[in-house]
C-alpha cells in the first residue's frame, strides 16, 4: 500500500531490494508442487534428445552384457584374483570417499563462504584433477609424494613413510581424482543455500560450529549424498592414477579396473566378466543413494 508513493532517487534501489526479497522467498522452496507440474509438460524434441543421451550412456553397458560369457561367469568371478581385486577395490574406494568427505567438506566451506584472494585460480586448481589425464595425475602424485618427490622425500627420510606401492597410496590416488567431484557438488549446494539460514541461526544463539552442524549440513544433505556418491563412483573406476602412483600388486593395490586390464591381456571374455562386477556394485550403490539425492 505504500509502494505507490515511492518515487525519486530511491526508485532504483527499491526495485533491487524487492527483487532480492522475492528471490529469497522463492529459494526457501515455496512451491515444489508447481515445479513438478511444469516438468511434465516438456517439449517433445527435448524429451527425444534426452532419450538419445540416455542411449549413449546405456548402449555400451548393453554391449558388455551381450558379450558376457554367462556360462563361465561363476567360475571367473569366484576366482581368487577377482575376489581379491574386489576386496581391494571396495576398501580403496570407500577409504577414498571417506577421505573426500573429511578433507573436501572443509574445502567446500572455505570456497563457498570465505572471501579468497584469487578465487578463480583456486577454483581452477581444485577442478584440475577432473581434466588431467589420470596417468598424468599419477605421475604428478609421484613427483609430489613419491620417494624422490617434493614432499615424499621428507616423508621417507623423517618418518620412513613411503606411499607408492601401498594401499594408502592407492587411496590417495583415488581420492586425488575423486575429490573435485565432491567439492564442486557441495560448494554449489552451499552457495545455493546462501547465508540466510546461517544468519537466522546466529540470531538464535548458534555459534559457528553449531551453525555448520545444525543448519548448513542438514540443508545441503542431498548434495552431500550426491557428492559422496560421485566421488565414490569415480574412485571405484579409477585406473590410470592408481596404476601410475600405486602400481599393481594383488591384495594390496590391484583394484578391479587393474584386474580388468590384466584379464584383457589374457582373455578378453574374462575382462568383460570382471567389468560386470564393477557395473553391478556401482549400480547397486548409486541406485540406493539416488533416493537420498533428491530432497524430501
Amino acid at each position: 500500500m505504500t509502494a505507490d508513493t515511492n518515487n525519486g532517487p530511491v526508485a532504483d534501489k527499491t526495485t533491487d531490494a524487492s527483487n532480492a526479497e522475492n528471490a529469497n522467498i522463492a529459494s526457501n522452496g515455496v512451491s515444489t508442487v508447481e515445479h513438478q507440474h511444469l516438468s511434465s509438460k516438456l517439449p517433445a524434441t527435448l524429451t527425444w534428445v534426452g532419450f538419445v543421451a540416455f542411449a549413449l550412456l546405456a548402449l555400451p553397458v548393453a554391449g558388455l552384457l551381450q558379450r558376457a560369457p554367462w556360462s563361465t561367469l561363476p567360475s571367473i568371478l569366484s576366482s581368487s584374483e577377482v575376489l581379491q581385486a574386489l576386496r581391494v577395490s571396495l576398501i580403496v574406494s570407500l577409504a577414498a570417499a571417506a577421505t573426500c568427505l573429511v578433507l573436501g567438506l572443509p574445502l567446500a566451506f572455505v570456497l563457498a563462504r570465505r572471501r579468497l584472494r584469487f578465487p578463480r585460480l583456486i577454483r581452477a586448481v581444485v577442478m584440475l584433477p577432473m581434466v588431467l589425464p589420470p596417468v598424468v595425475a599419477g605421475t604428478a602424485l609421484l613427483f609430489a609424494l613419491g620417494r624422490r618427490g617434493l614432499v615424499g622425500q621428507w616423508l621417507d627420510n623423517w618418518f620412513g613413510v613411503s606411499l607408492p606401492f601401498t594401499t594408502a597410496g592407492a587411496v590417495i590416488a583415488a581420492a586425488f581424482v575423486a575429490l573435485p567431484f565432491f567439492v564442486v557438488t557441495v560448494e554449489a549446494a552451499l552457495r545455493q543455500a546462501g547465508d540466510e539460514l546461517d544468519e537466522a541461526a546466529a540470531t538464535l544463539g548458534a555459534g559457528a560450529w553449531s551453525r555448520i552442524v545444525h543448519v548448513a549440513l542438514p540443508t545441503i544433505r542431498p548434495a552431500l549424498f550426491a557428492g559422496i556418491g560421485l566421488a565414490w563412483a569415480r574412485a571405484l573406476g579409477e585406473f590410470g592414477a592408481t596404476l601410475t602412483f600405486a602400481g599393481s600388486f594383488g591384495g594390496r593395490t590391484r583394484t578391479l579396473p587393474l584386474e580388468t586390464y590384466l584379464a584383457l591381456e589374457r582373455d578378453p571374455e574374462a575382462a568383460v566378466a570382471v567389468s560386470l562386477i564393477l557395473i553391478a556394485v556401482a549400480l547397486a550403490v548409486l541406485v540406493a543413494l539416488r533416493d537420498r539425492w533428491t530432497p524430501r
Binding site: 500500500m1 505504500t2 509502494a3 508513493t5 515511492n6 525519486g8 532517487p9 530511491v10 534501489k13 527499491t14 533491487d16 531490494a17 524487492s18 526479497e21 529469497n24 522467498i25 526457501n28 522452496g29 515455496v30 515444489t32 540466510e196 539460514l197 544468519e199 537466522a200 541461526a201 546466529a202 540470531t203 538464535l204 544463539g205 548458534a206 555459534g207 559457528a208 553449531s210 545444525h214 543448519v215 542438514p218 540443508t219 544433505r221 530432497p295
Partner: protein, 247 residues
Amino acid sequence: MTIELDGELARSGWTLQAELLEIGEGVTAVIGANGVGKTSLGRALAGLDHLQQGRLLIDGVVVDEPEAGVFVPAELRPVGMAFQDYRLFGHLKAIDNVAFGLRRCGVDRRSARSRASQVLERVDLDPHVWQKRPAALSGGQRQRVALARALAVEPDVLIVDEPLAAVDSSGRARLRSLLSESPARYVILITHDPVDVATLAQEVVVLDAGSVVSQGSLAEVTAAPGCEWAASFLGANVIAAKAQVGG
C-alpha cells in the same frame, strides 16, 4: 537503559549515517521508503553487519566499535530477529524451528519442545501444523512460526522486520497484542504498515536518503516528519489507520 548508535553503516554502494540514534525501551517503529536502510539498521543491531565506523551500545555495553576492534558476533548479542523472508530451517518441523534457539542454549529436547509449543499457541498456530515442515506451510503460517522462533529465546532486543505482512487481517490484531506484551525490553518494528505504527509504537524513527531524518513520539514525528515520504505516510495513512482501529 538505551540502545545507542552513533556511526555509519555501509552496504553495497550506499551508507546509512546514524548520528546519535538513541532507542529507548518499549516498541520503536522504524519507517521509511524501501531501500533507505531500515533492514540494514536491524542487521547492524543484530550483529549481522559490521559498522563502518562509530559505535553501537546495547544497555551501555559496546557491541560494535571498529576503531577499538570490538565486535560482538550475532550469537552472543541479546538480540533476536524475525526476518521479513522468514528464513525457516527447511529440514526441521515447525515446532523444532521454534525450539532451535533453546536447543542451542543447552535446553534439552523435551523442555525445548514444550516451551516451543507454548509460543506456537500464543501466535495462534493450529497444533496440527506444528509437525509440518516449512515447505508445507502457507505464507501466513510461516510468518507465525518465524515470529514464534524469535520470541522463544526471549531476547532483550527483538527486531521484527515486516512482522505481519503475510498474515490475514483477522490474525494481525492478535499478533499485535502479542508484540505489545512481549517480554523483550526493546521491540524494534521495521514496518510498512501504518496500523502497526499507530497501534504499537511508542516511538517512531524515520529514515530517508541514508540518514535518520526524524525521531520521537508519533505526534512529534507527524508534526516534523523530516521527509516527503514520511509526511505522506504519516499524514493520510495514520489518520486512516487510527480511524480503522478506533472504529
